[in-house]
Amino acid sequence: MNDLLPPSADAALPHDIVVAFEGFDGPIDLLLSLAREQKVDLSKLSILALAEQYLDYINSARAMRLEIAADYLVMAAWLAYLKSRLLLPELQEDEANPADMAEALKFQLLRLEAMQKASRELLSLPQLGSDFFVRGLPEKREVEENPVYYLPLYDLLSALGAPQRRRKPDHYDIAPTRLYSMEESLTRLRRMLGGLPQWGSLQMFLPNMLGHDPLESRSAIASTFAAVLELVKEGELEVRQGQTFSTLYVKNRQNNDDNATEKTT
C-alpha cells in the first residue's frame, strides 16, 4: 500500500499524528477520542460524522506513510461499510440494520468511556501505604500449639513390642552358656591317663553327660578332642585312627615304650 504514496510524504510527516497513534489503545480508544472532539454528549453522538472523522484520520495517517496496525484498518473497513449502509436506503432484509450497528458502536464507546472514567476514579481513591496506614508497629502474639494427635498403624504395631525391648536390656542377665571347657578336659584326661596302660577309645574319656544340655555334651566331645591333640603335642599321648570318621584311640605314651610299633591299620 505504501507504494501508492509519494515518497515526498516523509517530509510532511506531522509529529502530532505519530504521537497520537502511540497514545491510543486500539481503534475504539481512537474513536472515543475523536468522539470527544464532537464535544457532544456521547449518547447524542453522530455515528456517521464519527465514521467520517475516523476514515479521514486513517487516510491522513496513510498519506504520511505511517504504519497502521491491522485492527485500526479493520475498524476503518467496518466504519466504511457502516457509513455506506447509513447513507444508502435499506437493501436486503437479512442484513443487519445500520441503525442497530450504529447503536452498538455507540454503546461500545459509552462503555469504554465509562471504564476509563472509572479507572481514573478508582486510582484517585485513597490508597493503603500512601494515604492511609495500618499499624506501623505490629505486635507479635504468643502462639500456643494445640496438638492434634495421630498414629500410623506401623507405630501402633511396633509399640506392642516396645515393653519387651525396653525390659530386656534393662535387666537381662546373659546366662553363662554351660560349655565343657578345654581346661576341664585336660585335667580330666591327665587324671585318667595314669591308669590307662593300653589303647583306649576317646569315648572312654568323655564325662558322663547324661541329662545334660545337648549343647554341653557336644562341647565335652569337642574339648576332649582338643585336649587330646594338646597332649599329643606335648608328647604325653599317642592317638590313632583307622580311617576317616572311625573311632579314635588314645594311649599314654610313657606306658607305651615297649610296644611303640604296635599300630593297627
Binding site: 485492527d71 484498518l73 473497513a77 476514579e121 478508582l122 481513591l125 492511609f132 496506614f133
Partner: protein, 206 residues
C-alpha cells in the same frame, strides 16, 4: 474512665496488634462462642468515629487504619504510589466492575488485545485473581479482584466502587462483545485477516 466491656477491650487489642485485616471467624474464635462479635465490632467502629484511627471493614475483614483525610498532614515514609500504566488501570477497572470477566470480554470492552504484562502487573500487586472457568466453549478463565484490592482502596465492598450504581443502572456493565457480532454479515468472522475486510480497506480508505 468508665469501665468498658472486657470483650470489647480484647477485640480492640487484637485488631490493634495486627497490621493485617482479620476475618470475623478468626475474631470469633479468639473471643469465644459467647461473644457477639458483630455487635462489638460496630460498637468499636463507633468509638473510633472522628478519631485519627478508624476501624474499617473491607471485603468482610476488619482492620484499624489511619483516617485517609489526614494523609496530607502525615509526614511519614510512604510507599511511592505506583503509577499504573493506562492499559493496566483500564483492565483493573474492567475486572473490578465487570467481575468475573474473561480475558476476551476485557478485550471486547477495550477493543484491543491485552498484552501479557498488563495482567502480570495486577497479579503481582495482588489485586486480581483467577475465578471460575466460564462454562462456555473453550472454558475460558475468568478474573476477579482480591480482598487485598478492597483493602488497598479502603472499600467495604464492590458495590462501593466509584459510580458502581450509576454504571449498573445505565446498563454499561455488560461485557458482551458488540462489534464482533455486528462486524460481518455472517456474524462470526471478526478476524483482522479476513479477506473481505482487507478489500474494504483498499476500496474505501485509499
Amino acid at each position: 474512665m468508665t469501665e468498658i466491656d472486657p470483650a470489647l477491650r480484647l477485640l480492640e487489642a487484637i485488631l490493634f496488634a495486627s497490621d493485617e485485616p482479620m476475618t470475623l471467624t478468626v475474631l470469633q474464635n479468639q473471643l469465644g462462642e459467647a461473644a457477639d462479635v458483630p455487635t462489638l465490632l460496630v460498637a468499636l467502629q463507633k468509638h473510633y468515629e472522628g478519631r485519627g484511627i478508624h476501624l474499617v471493614e473491607t471485603g468482610g475483614v476488619w482492620s484499624f487504619r489511619t483516617d485517609p483525610a489526614l494523609a496530607p498532614l502525615m509526614k511519614i515514609t510512604r510507599q511511592a504510589r505506583r503509577k499504573l500504566p493506562k492499559a493496566a488501570s483500564e483492565v483493573l477497572a474492567i475486572i473490578a466492575y465487570h467481575q468475573p470477566v474473561t480475558r476476551a470480554e476485557i478485550e471486547s470492552v477495550r477493543g484491543v488485545e491485552t498484552s501479557k504484562g498488563t495482567l502480570d502487573i495486577l497479579l503481582e500487586l495482588g489485586w486480581i485473581r483467577p475465578g471460575k472457568r466460564r462454562e462456555t466453549p473453550g472454558r475460558p478463565l475468568t478474573w476477579k479482584t482480591t480482598p487485598e484490592f478492597l483493602s488497598h482502596f479502603n472499600l467495604e465492598a464492590l458495590k462501593d466502587l466509584p459510580g458502581m450504581e450509576d454504571l449498573k443502572a445505565a446498563g454499561l456493565l455488560d461485557a458482551r462483545p458488540i462489534l464482533a457480532t455486528m462486524s460481518a454479515e455472517g456474524g462470526e468472522a471478526s478476524d483482522p485477516d479476513d479477506a473481505e475486510f482487507a478489500n474494504w480497506v483498499d476500496e474505501e480508505v485509499v
